[in-house]
Amino acid sequence: MTRTDDPTPPPVAELERVTRTYRMGTNEVRALDELSFAFGRGEYWAVMGSSGSGKSTLLNLLGCLDRPSSGHYRIEGVDVSTLDDDQLSEIRSQKLGFVFQSYNLIAQLNVLENILVPLFYQDDPPPGAEQRARGLAERVGLGNRLDHRPMELSGGQQQRVAIARALVNHPTLILADEATGNLDSQTAQEILALLDELHAEGRTILIVTHEPDVGARAQHVLRLKDGRIETVVRDQNPAPTRRALEVR
């Protein structure tokens, strides 16, 4: 699937006529309706849309927490639609990083342990896992809070831990679900700055949000309506971060 003549980078996640239907009593609801789209490597996408537009469903599918009712979804060329539950878990632990709106840290574990959870479920945890987790905690500014429990941290700090956790397994795709939804604007800016930084490093990020200013910071915007694509805006910001990186 290499298309050398195509200017867009090779897709990390590719949807092909994906439909997801839910049964609500006797009605059938189409949360996603024959959606086809490709997210390229190193891109930073904001997925926007009103509630009920299919944002969450799309995120669950992309996160391999759900399977399409029909159509195909490929991560780095692997068709996920045909995988069984264990294989999906494997993909989640190897290729995906999650950042949730409500942080979703495990209350009984401390910061370091929380960051290590994704590696906990890999059959062959990479060597130096703890060292890496320490480094990530350092990076998100929590190097001195390693043995704190989530309850002892502020919302912003918890979300930083969650981001560190999302990075620990070297994911090919980072999925953020309303990552700033529970934070005040000051803290939200810090988290968004962190995401910008990750994008600048070349990571593929997808953030689901309904806040316009969060969407405005992303490189590209995908707007959904009734389970279909409404608009696609590419390169709304002329990649300032990438240039900044080149200067350095």
Binding site: L65, D86, S89, E90, S93, N104, I106, Q108, P118, Y121
Partner: protein, 423 residues
């Protein structure tokens, strides 16, 4: 799941348990008591069995006992004022048994004399048994002091007697009875020895509480002084009984022959005593019966205890179901971050199995102490057999797995999306 990841999962389970110490402790108690109960119940069963068998052993496992029994249908012979009831084993039976049956080592006749025994102002009613010297060999009794009856006593028709230890202690509380005199009915006997008492049996004749105290005198002496006809005073009425021999102890040479000899003796007696004025007891048979009974009892007791263990298991299932619901969100997070279903199953199974292992071990420790406690409190003999702790412990672990399986399965099969949304 590989070794190191299993180890991590075990550590995770244990730390979850420690998070709710009281809850874990209470859940564990069900298993603890269950395991304790299984061990204690089996120990009580075993203690009862051993005790019963020891009692029967006192009769001699190589013996067949034939005893005279007053037949119910025998009433007064005629309308005389004084009734004489005649029944029981005879010298002819003795001769037949000793002469005919192969495998019989010897036959020891025993007569019982119903007289009061006195020494000074102390009186008691032990069984007075007139028998031959060989009696002590076939019953395996032990001499404490002096000697048992001897052949020359028999020849001389000597007025000598041997007391069992209970009688000796009662009649001669402060001195050795050797060389002293006791009065049996109207005659004086000098004491030549004492023997260990027999372990009491439920089926022993005589008043309850009278014990099994026994005095032995030579057979010939008994015959000479007390005759075959004895007067019994019962509930105000006088009754005369004529019994030649009260008991025959048939000693068999080898254990394999015991049942054969017992059957032969029964057959012979049926033919010669159509009125059924006898009973044959075979200690070996009794032991087998007791063992069968003890097995049944142990089974019943253990079954009850296992039920309590199962109830403990149900308690664990209940608590784990609540825990799984409470931790729905955590399960969702773990699943989203890559936990496979079986890793979630193992995480929760580790918790229940750990509870059962710890509870089981403490239960085993308590169970091992149970015989001591039972003896102190209930004065019951209890014996922990070697395999019962292993049995109880493995049942508890199996119950832990079974009890944890359903909650763990529930946890693993939650939809991760739903679980993440759970508040």
């Amino acid at each position: 799941m590989k070794g190191p990841s299993l180890l991590r999962t075990v550590r995770l389970g244990v730390s979850s348990l420690l998070l709710h110490k009281l809850r874990s402790l209470l859940t564990m108690l069900g298993v603890l008591f269950g395991v304790f109960a299984v061990i204690a119940m089996l120990a009580i069963g075993e203690g009862g069995r051993v005790e019963a068998i020891e009692r029967i052993r006192g009769l001699g496992t190589l013996n067949v006992l034939a005893r005279s029994v007053k037949p119910p249908e025998v009433f007064a012979t005629g309308q005389q004022a004084v009734r004489v009831v005649s029944y029981g084993l005879t010298e002819a039976d003795l001769a037949r048994v000793s002469a005919t049956f192969p495998g019989v080592r010897c036959v020891v006749p025993v007569r019982e004399i119903f007289e009061e025994v006195r020494h000074g102002d102390r009186a008691m009613n032990p069984r007075v048994l007139a028998t031959q010297p060989i009696y002590i060999d076939v019953t395996g009794r032990n001499v404490v002091e002096g000697r048992f009856l001897a052949e020359e006593d028999e020849r001389n028709v000597a007025n000598v007697c041997v007391l069992d230890y209970d009688v000796a202690r009662y009649l001669f509380p402060f001195e050795s009875p050797l060389g002293q005199e006791v009065k049996i009915g109207g005659d004086y006997f000098s004491v030549v020895g004492t023997v260990l008492p027999r372990v009491r049996q439920e089926s022993d004749p005589g008043k309850a509480g009278a014990g099994t105290a026994e005095i032995f005198i030579p057979l010939e002496t008994g015959r000479k002084w007390y005759g075959n006809v004895q007067v019994k005073i019962r509930a105000g009425s006088r009754e005369m009984e004529e019994v030649e021999l009260h008991e025959l102890v048939v000693a068999v040479d080898r254990q394999e022959n015991v049942m054969f000899v017992a059957d032969s003796v029964r057959e012979m007696l049926v033919r010669n005593h159509p009125n059924g004025d006898y009973e044959v007891r075979v200690p070996l048979e009794l032991i087998r019966e007791v063992e069968a009974q003890a097995r049944l009892w142990s089974f019943v007791l253990a079954a009850i205890a296992v039920i309590s263990l199962v109830v403990g298991g149900i308690g664990i299932t209940n608590v784990m179901l609540a825990t799984v619901t409470e931790r729905t969100r955590e399960i969702g997070i773990r699943r989203a971050l890559g936990a496979k279903r079986n890793q979630i199953v193992v995480q929760f199974l580790v918790e229940t199995v750990t509870l059962c292992i710890v509870g089981g071990l403490v239960g085993v420790a308590a169970g091992l102490l149970s015989p001591w406690v039972l003896e102190q409190v209930l004065h019951k003999r209890a014996i922990v057999t070697l395999n019962s702790p292993f049995l109880a412990f493995s049942i508890s672990v199996v119950i832990g797995v079974v009890a944890g399986l359903y909650p763990a399965w529930r946890a693993a099969n939650m939809d991760p999306v739903e679980a993440l949304r759970h508040e």
